[in-house]
């Protein structure tokens, strides 16, 4: 029985929170005076509350989490539903509920509950993800919040749930899901750049190639042809799905990403300004509180979704790379600790939150540097905002807690031997 928390994770957490606070300060300070009635002031309060919550979540035992996971899940799902009816609208999406004069986003906390419930369910001795009868239930646990969030018209917040697929993959879910997902994404990207007939030609070509190569195993023909028929119908229907399912602004963001539209003054304004801010930072950055784009507020939403621009402009390539490495260290450390743990719940929970952190990290930073479409989700621990900071803190410290109190920790401070 091991009882010490993982100090490395706590250290990374503190560094990220400090980077976040100073970035928010640099983005929102007024030269006159320091005031708590400002974004950096509020963030300071949120940080204080987070630390308290971190402490609190550390007191509870693993069983408590297991036991409350279903209740939490149901509670936040209900809150998500409630938001649809009573929520405040913000930029076309209803995702906020007001408590007093503080708005909270249940979607951020719903992720936590979902991670807990998924971990509890999958760690159950009977669960076997290679079997559909278990898999569809896990799928349902993940799908419910996604559907509700989609109904809130907040597609961006639903996306991180999809990344839980990596955690399920680790627990034995068929790799076909990943392969199919990857093929779908690759085909989609190809369709953005190439005409449909060219993609079809390519797909059929690959199919014929496989058929000829496998000519000794005629039995596989049926399966191969079936698979490719599915692929071909996907290619044929992408246009339709794209036009029917996605909303105009979402289509614009995707077209913007692929360079189909170039409108730096209109819909491309945010991304263009973000790239200008980051790109002009150079190697070492312009210095704390000295970025012209940041100080003059050229980048919209810069304390929240575009906070990475402040780091990019004022701290340069050194700063951005440092932040990326910190996230990789955080996520990698969680995965290694999860792997090393005897307890399936801890492992699955670790993977789940690693996936969620990575989703936010990849989507948010990808968006600011033009590698992802514009999706407004926060950068964990750094973006301004109480809900996301509290939710991410609880997620992380629940892991630090259950990881340290579980059985059979193999003493291996680096964890790197697990690679081999």
């Amino acid at each position: 029985m091991k009882t010490k928390p993982d100090w490395l994770l706590i250290l990374i957490y503190i560094i990220l929170i400090l980077i976040g606070w100073f970035s928010i300060y640099a983005t929102s300070y007024q030269p006159e005076s320091f005031t708590m009635k400002s974004q950096y002031g509020y963030q300071l309060i949120w940080i204080g509350i987070s630390l308290l919550l971190a402490l609190f979540s550390y007191i509870l035992t693993q069983n408590v989490y297991k036991n409350i996971s279903l209740i939490l899940y149901m509670l936040f799902s209900l809150m998500l539903v409630a938001v649809i009816f009573v929520g405040a609208e913000h930029k076309g999406a209803k995702s906020w509920v007001g408590i007093g004069n503080i708005g909270i986003q249940p979607a951020e906390f719903a992720k936590y509950a979902t991670c807990l419930l998924v971990s509890k369910y999958v760690s159950d001795n009977n669960c076997n993800l290679t079997e559909w009868k278990y898999l569809w239930k896990v799928g349902l646990i993940i799908a419910i919040p996604i559907v509700i969030i989609l109904l809130q018209n907040d597609t961006g917040s639903a996306l991180p749930y999809v990344f839980l697929i990596f955690a399920l993959f680790r627990e034995g879910m068929s790799s076909w899901f990943l392969i199919i997902g990857s093929v779908a994404i690759v085909l989609f990207c190809m369709l953005m750049y190439m005409p449909q007939w060219a993609v079809l030609l390519l797909v059929i070509g690959i199919m014929l190639f496989i058929l000829i190569r496998n000519r000794k195993h005629k039995r596989t023909y049926k399966a191969v042809i079936l698979i490719f028929l599915v692929v071909i119908s996907y290619v044929l229907s992408v246009d339709m799905i794209y036009n029917r399912v996605l909303q105009p602004h979402q289509k614009q963001r995707i077209e913007l990403l692929f360079g189909k539209i170039d409108d730096p003054r209109g819909i491309g304004y945010n991304v263009n300004q973000a790239k200008i801010a980051i790109g002009s930072g150079g190697m070492w950055g312009k210095g704390f509180c000295s970025g012209t784009q940041t100080q003059l507020k050229y980048v919209p939403e810069q304390t929240t979704d575009f906070i990475f621009c402040t780091i990019g402009e004022e701290k340069g390539f050194v700063g951005t790379t440092f932040v990326i490495l910190l996230y990789m260290l955080l996520i990698g450390r969680i995965i290694l600790l999860a792997e090393a743990n005897q307890d399936a719940f801890v492992r699955i929970y670790g993977y789940s939150i690693a996936c969620i952190f990575f989703a936010h990290f990849a989507i948010n930073i990808g968006m600011t540097i033009g590698l992802m479409p514009v999706i407004g989700i926060p950068l964990p621990f750094i973006s301004f905002g109480g809900s996301s900071l509290l939710a991410f803190t609880i997620m992380l410290f629940t892991f630090i807690n259950v990881e340290s109190k579980s059985h059979g920790y193999e003493v291996n401070p680096t964890g790197w031997s697990q690679w081999n």
Binding site: G279, I324, I365
Partner: protein, 610 residues
């Protein structure tokens, strides 16, 4: 059953995907932040507003330090007709110092331009008007005041052609000189053009921080990269303001020009062109219309700088040139006398002359302006087969010597738009008459400054100056000092020797002196001053002859050399001589002692056929 070891190798896949994406991001950031410099430029275009501060344009003084041109602040009043509400018209008229009719005219013009367009309602508002209007701005909705605009203020009525004017740069100016950006000013003519580089100064740079709404939010890096504007340099031009103004007064109602030069320096004391215009017309927003009006005045051609650009046959004033050239060439000497029988007959033609004593020597020929003397002189030179193998060769020598006296080419003075005048080349005559088929008598009119020969007023004034100096001149120029009063303009301190020995000037000067005391130029005399002059009457068929005079004074230590041309003024003595006389008196004595003589010129007009 979730077995820990079962799918352990899948960790590598998950980690692999996560790490690949992170590495991809770092590569992208490397290209964005390190490799691609365009983002830095874009950031600067975003946030930095480079404001050019205009330096004040240099002040122009006259030779004594009298201010001729400086700058003043002016304002423009704009109107947006749709926004104009009820207001007290009379009050606005009173502030603007206009009457109601004028107000209505301006308002109608603005309405025609467009009810929803901002038009200039009135320009060149004084700072007082501006201050008053700004205070009452709430009363006059739809009217707007411009920020202060620096414009040229003239402290002299005339001298428009000397001073030139300033306009906004056009595309060609910007293409030619990177210094200029849109809405900059540039000198268009006169001194403003020739000394543009000195007058304009150096623009300053202020780098300001601009927010996305376009508001200025302070200076970039605490003004570390800002530069102050360097004011334009002052110029002291050689013009004598009083003399210039007096010359213009004398020339009123007449067409022509007066050029006065200080022989000892080549400095132009007065450069009068008539008709002229008030330089203030070409300042402010009305300048475009005014300019077009001046341009359209095809009768008076006020924009035509006669002093530098009008090319007249010099007539008898050119005899001075021949008198010098013939002597230097050895065709005549101080003892040579040519007879005259009321003219010079050649072939079956005759070039007439008026009655005078005969035969005459050089001085006498100048004094009496004898045509026959110069015809014979030209023959003596061009038909001299001892020295020259052909007329063509002799003519080439003649032409070269005339050229050294400043004719047939530009001086390269500091006033733009000079013209060359015309002294025909040998090739010209060869083409005209055929090679070897012309001789002295063929081109006999050049001996008396007629025929093809043309000269500009400034060339004639320079002739007077070089005779006054007995053999040399300085390039006539208009700017004495740049930057401060004592730092002389060094461009024009080269003495040009005209290639005529000093002794040959003696009889010519004597002749000019006698022309004033007892010859054709008596009307050029000034009481108490020994004036040397030579009249000219340039034939200008079918119109009345032009009246010309070149002179300098005093004879011994000349201080002023003048050429006067009055178009269609008849004999040189009629108009040009008295004008020169008055100019000399004004310059040397600063007052006119002969008001009745002055009255014969001032206010008198010559009637010109349209």
């Amino acid at each position: 059953m979730a077995n820990r070891a079962l799918y352990k190798n899948r960790m590598k896949w998950v980690m692999g995907i996560f790490i690949s994406i992170s590495v991809l991001y770092i590569i992208k950031l490397f290209s964005l932040q390190i490799l691609d410099d365009t983002w830095k430029d874009k950031a600067n275009i975003n946030a930095l507003d480079t404001i050019r501060t205009q330096p004040p344009r240099g002040v122009i003084y006259d030779r004594y330090g009298e201010k001729l041109v400086d700058n003043e602040k002016s304002y423009e009043l704009y109107v947006l007709p749709v926004k104009v509400g009820e207001f007290d018209t009379a009050e606005l008229c009173k502030i603007l110092n206009i009457d109601t009719a004028d107000f209505n005219r301006r308002m109608e013009k603005a309405m025609r331009h467009g009810r929803r367009c901002v038009s200039v309602f009135m320009s060149r508002l004084s700072p007082q008007m501006d201050a008053y209007l700004r205070e009452k701005a709430h009363k006059f909705k739809g009217f707007y005041l411009s920020p202060p605009i620096a414009i040229r203020k003239y402290h002299i009525q005339g001298a428009a052609h000397v001073l030139g004017y300033v306009t906004e740069v056009n595309k060609e100016d910007i293409a030619k000189d990177a210094y200029y950006i849109q809405r900059d000013n540039i000198g268009r003519s006169g001194i403003e053009r020739s000394y543009e580089k000195e007058l304009r100064g150096v623009k300053g740079v202020t780098i300001a921080l601009r927010d996305p709404s376009g508001n200025i939010q302070g200076s970039y890096m605490d003004g570390q990269y800002d530069e102050n504007a360097i004011p334009g340099q002052s110029l002291w031009c050689s013009i004598d303001k009083e003399l210039q103004e007096y010359g213009e007064k004398l020339m009123e109602g007449k067409r022509g020009s007066i050029v006065a030069i200080e022989p000892s320096s080549g400095e132009i004391l007065a450069l009068v062109t008539s008709p002229a215009y008030d330089p203030s017309l070409l300042v402010g927003s009305e300048k475009g219309n005014n300019y077009m009006a001046l341009l359209r005045d095809s009768v008076n051609k006020p924009l035509f700088n006669r002093a530098l650009m009008a090319q007249y046959p010099p007539g008898s004033t050119f005899k001075l040139v021949n008198a010098l050239v013939f002597q230097q060439a050895g065709a005549v000497n101080e003892h040579t006398r040519f007879s005259c029988s009321h003219g010079f007959a050649y072939g079956n033609r005759k070039l007439g002359c008026h009655g005078h004593a005969s035969p005459l020597d050089i001085a006498g020929s100048v004094q009496n302006s004898c045509n026959a003397w110069y015809c014979r002189g030209l023959i003596a030179m061009l038909d001299d087969r001892k020295h020259y193998s052909s007329t063509e060769e002799a003519y080439a020598v003649w032409r070269k010597m005339v050229g050294k006296l400043g004719f047939g080419d530009k001086f390269g003075s500091d006033l733009p738009y000079e013209l060359t005048g015309f002294i025909p080349t040998e090739a010209y005559y060869n083409k005209h008459y055929g090679k070897g088929r012309w001789k002295a008598t063929t081109i006999i009119s050049i001996s008396i400054g007629q025929g093809e020969i043309c000269a500009t007023p400034i060339q004639l004034a320079n002739l007077a100056a070089l005779i006054a100096n007995r053999g040399y001149f300085y390039t006539p120029h208009i700017v004495k000092a740049i930057g401060n009063k004592d730092s002389l303009n060094t461009k024009y301190t080269v003495k040009h020797n005209v290639g005529i020995e000093r002794k040959y000037f003696t009889p010519v000067v004597l002749g000019m002196e006698r022309a004033v005391s007892a010859g054709t130029a008596r009307r050029a005399s000034v009481p108490g001053v020994k004036v040397c002059a030579k009249t000219g009457t340039a034939q200008n068929p079918p119109s009345q002859d032009h009246s010309l005079l070149v002179c300098f004074a005093p004879a011994e230590h000349p201080q002023i050399a003048i050429s006067v041309i009055v178009e269609n003024g008849g004999f040189g003595a009629t108009w040009a001589a008295p004008i020169a006389s008055l100019m000399i008196e004004k310059y040397l004595k600063r007052t006119i002692s002969r008001p009745e003589y002055e009255a014969t010129i001032v206010g008198k007009s010559i009637h010109y056929a349209k």
